[in-house]
């Protein structure tokens, strides 16, 4: 019994309710936003520390013992993911202060943000597959409302696709949950880890596993199910896009990691081979899609897809090293990708456009922003000694160890293509001169800048730009945590023992 596990869910729920109470007062909502997400960040740090020192943490709802009641479980993967959610929530709450327009705040941005964080943390922590469905719905509803914040035409069109495909994937998840219950009579993940191998018809287990795979692949925006993402992610306000980029697809990735290591590892030759192909194609199609665009947010949205591929490959290779690499990659990607979106928002504030053809000359006026952008962009492309190199190195090495040459080649090539996209943004936005025909608007935006606001926006950008460098240079603790987390995923004994209290 450990209340530390429940705090990452409770804190955003309380903060969200408080923001609703003070719905009219945006100043109070802003304070609640920063303090609430700050408290969430601290709680997730404490949870990771506790999980690291004391092993897997379990909390039973209403003291109903597992497998009958719902449990919250924090193993190292869950704790790491909630830490990332807390960190990104805090960074974005600070970033939202100057960047979120008053209109958007009036639509209820802050309560929705807290609700989204609660859903994300709940999905990371729950140890019950139906409860996972509920948390995913919570975060989806919050994301629906955030996506159409403002209600412009593009947002509506993007939202129709986003809502339809995500509801479809939720229903697949629900069907999978129902079939799993029909097969085994339980919904508890640890109990399922014990009971699924005992099912006589192992073919049926694989079929149900495929339902989950498709459902989570839609949520993770994996090939060939990612089309909702580039159609919708560039439409909402930039802080919302950054929040989505940081956390939403990662919930799908996390669920894939959880389901296909703890429960559905009965037919690795089939499921993980399929995952490997999905991962490979996700990497390649994502990065090729990005090459076609000249809009910062769209380029970055396609790169979300391509980076998801690396994580899935880490899961698909299914060796301790590969899983550790996948986990490192998730952590690295959340930080670097979110920060690139945040920098995109700063660029918009300085130039008034996301279109690379209309902006330029930022290196001359804002060299520091250029350096920060390069730190994040090169981390994303995987240049040593930044964190992306570490993640790619571990995954590619794992690929070489199992002699999966095709995926190694794809991973290396995609790294190069990522670098191309990042250099494109760099060359267009920072290096070339400001195009004459749009100089007037750029000058107007430059004049309108409030120094204090810009400083406030730069704060999270600076921290998040330095983190990949810190992770890359001081890699040992990160690798250590990822290795232990991967071992916990591969050997479910400790997980089952912690939840059910018996040795399987």
């Amino acid at each position: 019994m450990s209340t530390a596990v429940a705090l990452p869910v409770l804190i955003p729920l309380i903060a969200g309710s408080l923001s609703l109470v003070f719905y009219k007062s945006h100043a109070v909502q802003r304070w609640v936003g920063v303090i609430g997400t700050g408290a969430l960040f601290l709680a997730t740090v404490a949870l990771l520390a506790k999980t690291w020192t004391d092993g897997i943490q379990v909390m039973e709802f209403g003291s109903w013992p597992a497998p009958f009641g719902i449990v919250l479980v924090a193993d190292l993967l869950s704790a790491t993911m909630t830490l990332m959610a807390g960190m990104m929530g805090f960074a974005l709450a600070v970033y939202s202060l100057p960047s979120m327009s008053r209109d958007h705040e009036a639509f209820g941005y802050y309560p929705l943000m807290h609700l989204l964080l609660a859903g994300v943390c709940g999905a990371f922590l729950t140890g019950d597959i139906f409860n996972l469905y509920v948390w995913i719905e919570v975060l989806l509803v919050a994301s629906f409302a955030l996506l159409i914040l403002g209600g412009e035409r593009g947002q509506m069109e993007g939202a129709v696709k986003y809502v339809t495909l995500n509801l479809f994937s939720s229903m697949m998840l629900l069907v999978g949950v129902g079939l799993t219950y029909g097969l085994t009579g339980t919904l508890n993940m640890a109990d399922l880890a014990v009971k699924l191998p005992q099912v006589e018809e192992q073919g049926l287990v694989t079929v149900v596993g495929m339902l989950f795979l498709v459902s989570f692949a839609i949520k993770a925006a994996a090939f060939p199910l990612f089309f909702w993402l580039p159609a919708s992610y560039h439409t909402p306000p930039i802080a919302v896009t950054a929040l989505f980029a940081a956390l939403l697809t990662k919930v799908g990735v996390y669920a894939l990691f959880r389901f296909f290591s703890l429960m559905f590892d009965n037919d690795v030759g089939y499921t993980h081979e399929l995952l490997l192909w999905i991962g490979g194609f996700t990497m390649v199609t994502g990065v090729l899609g990005a090459a076609a665009y000249y809009e910062i947010r769209r380029i970055l949205a396609f790169h979300i897809i391509s980076q998801i591929g690396y994580m899935i490959v880490g899961l698909a290779l299914f060796t301790p090293l590969a899983l550790a690499g996948g986990i490192i990659y998730i952590v690295h990607n959340i930080i670097a990708k979110t920060n690139l979106f945040l920098i995109g928002g700063v660029i918009y504030m300085l130039r008034g456009s996301y279109d690379l053809k209309q902006i330029g000359g930022l290196w001359k006026t804002r060299p520091m922003l250029g350096v920060l952008f390069l730190l994040s962009a090169l981390a994303l492309a995987g240049i040593p000694p930044l964190s992306g190199f570490l993640g790619k190195y571990v995954i590619i090495r794992a690929g070489i160890e199992v002699e999966s040459w095709g995926i190694v080649a794809a991973a290396l090539a995609v790294g190069l293509m990522t670098l191309y996209s990042m250099v494109k943004i760099w060359a267009e936005a920072f290096w070339k001169a400001q195009p004459e025909e749009h100089a007037e608007r750029a000058a107007a935006f430059e004049r309108a800048i409030d120094k204090k606001n810009l400083t406030l926006m730069m704060l999270p950008v600076i921290v998040l730009a330095l983190l990949p460098a810190a992770i890359g240079i001081g890699a040992q603790p990160v690798i250590e945590i990822a290795r232990v987390a991967a071992d916990q995923l591969l050997d479910s004994t400790a997980y089952v023992e912690a939840v059910l209290g018996v040795t399987p």
Partner: protein, 116 residues
Amino acid sequence: MGSVMAVVVGALFAASVYMMLRRSIVKLVIGLILLSNAANLLIFTVSGLTRGAPPLIPEGMTVPPGGAWADPLPQALILTAIVIGFGVLAFAVVLIHRAYEVVGEDDMDQMRSTDS
């Protein structure tokens, strides 16, 4: 009974996919409604259709009286899923209404300005 229900569930899924593949966004929402009902019915069917006593344990006993009793969990799951589905569908209906107002069309093919 189980096989009849299986056919009904299958028909519901087929109808919902057909509706979602139409171009009209109103039909899209009808498809979503059918989809969530199909999923609920599937949970109901797959967890075993038993006609039995309520699973209530009287004081002093350890199991419910009678030989067969109904499993309460699928019903709890479906109830939760219905509530969630209702909320989400309410949102979807408002969304397509707003989308129709903003775009001025109920044709999905006209909603492609964000795709390329």
